[in-house]
Amino acid sequence: MNPSRVLFISLIGFCSVYCITAFAASQEFELRIREHLFYPSNLEVPANQKIRLVIINEDATPEEFESYELNREKVIPGNSRTVIFIGPLSPGEYVFFGEFYPRTAQGKIIAR
């Protein structure tokens, strides 16, 4: 096949998948970082659903939400917010921590 045709078909396929999946809805939850602690430290979420987690860092310093169990790591600059998407999760507990302040910034997501 002509290389330019391969490129064209690939880009069309890529754009189609990107656009089709661009409007997926999910339930929203909030997590705050204050004085290097997560609030709430235990966050209950529904199992088997995709979750939109808004993380608000009220500290002046950056923090990184990290969880191997959730397969997520995301830096939140000081005095700012970010969104991460997790799930659908099987019922259970998923620990997370702040990589900049791991001794204090700890918590878990409980999927029920």
Binding site: P3, S4, V6, L7, S10, F14, V17, Y18, I20, T21, A22, A24, K50, P62, E64, Y68, N71, R72, E73, K74, V75, P77, T82, V83, I84, F85, I86, G87, S90, E99, F100, P102
Partner: protein, 217 residues
């Protein structure tokens, strides 16, 4: 490398803000009777994120031939653009832009790669599709494509087994991979990968060993 080995590394479509990394990777293809492939390829790079969506990296590429001569062959510039948040859509997406210039020959290469990753529980699948244009006085101008796939099982942070598939102009191969990461302190990690890729056709080395060590800080 221009017209170089298609077996190298599978890129993930993610960028970690405020991260720098020092990476060393090496590739050891078995000798082939039909082509004078290098005995070893070594890449050393320094990279930094510019934001939570852009990451840039500069590489020095060296080769050791079958007679034992080692030379600096090329330098490369890479720019990765994370297009979607992890888990936001059906799959995660990114783009990789690369420029390579060989030091000993008039050969240049530019490429664009589509990076995609999808999770299935503890399994992750990553696909890279690269579109490559080569030009220069020492090479026939040509357009080529390359594809790579990696599946890995997230058993633990220290050990993730999986397998990889590569296909391109110079090789097609499949083989096992192990990788892991060791935490060295606050925002300091050592990531490693080792893979053995078995050639699936006559143009490919029978075996290619690849190794990667990455210090993230």
């Amino acid at each position: 490398m221009a017209d170089g080995l298609s077996i190298d590394k599978v890129y993930h479509p993610y960028v970690d803000a405020l991260e720098k990394e020092l990476e060393y990777r090496s590739i050891y293809p078995e000798a082939q009777s039909r082509s004078a492939n290098p005995a070893q390829i070594h890449k050393l790079s320094l990279g930094t994120s510019f934001s939570d969506h852009w990451f840039g990296e500069f590489y020095l590429v060296g080769e050791k031939d079958r007679r034992g001569n080692f030379e600096l062959e090329a330098y490369e510039l890479e720019l990765k653009w994370q297009l979607s948040e992890q888990g936001e859509y059906f799959a995660d997406w990114g783009l990789l832009f690369e420029y390579e210039n060989e030091t000993e020959a008039d050969i240049e290469e530019i490429s664009v790669g589509i990076l995609s990753e999808k999770e299935w529980g503890r399994w992750s699948g990553t696909a890279n599709l690269h579109f490559i244009q080569e030009w220069g006085d020492d090479i026939d101008d040509e357009f080529e494509t390359a594809f790579a796939w990696q599946s890995r099982y997230r058993y633990s942070q220290a050990l993730e087994p999986g397998f990889e598939f590569y296909t391109g102009q110079t090789a097609t191969g499949l083989g096992p991979l192990v990788q892991g990461a060791i935490n060295l302190g606050i925002r300091r990690n050592l990531h490693w990968e080792a893979g053995l890729i078995f050639g699936l056709d006559n143009k490919s080395p029978d075996q290619t060993f690849r190794f990667l060590l990455e210090y993230e800080f």
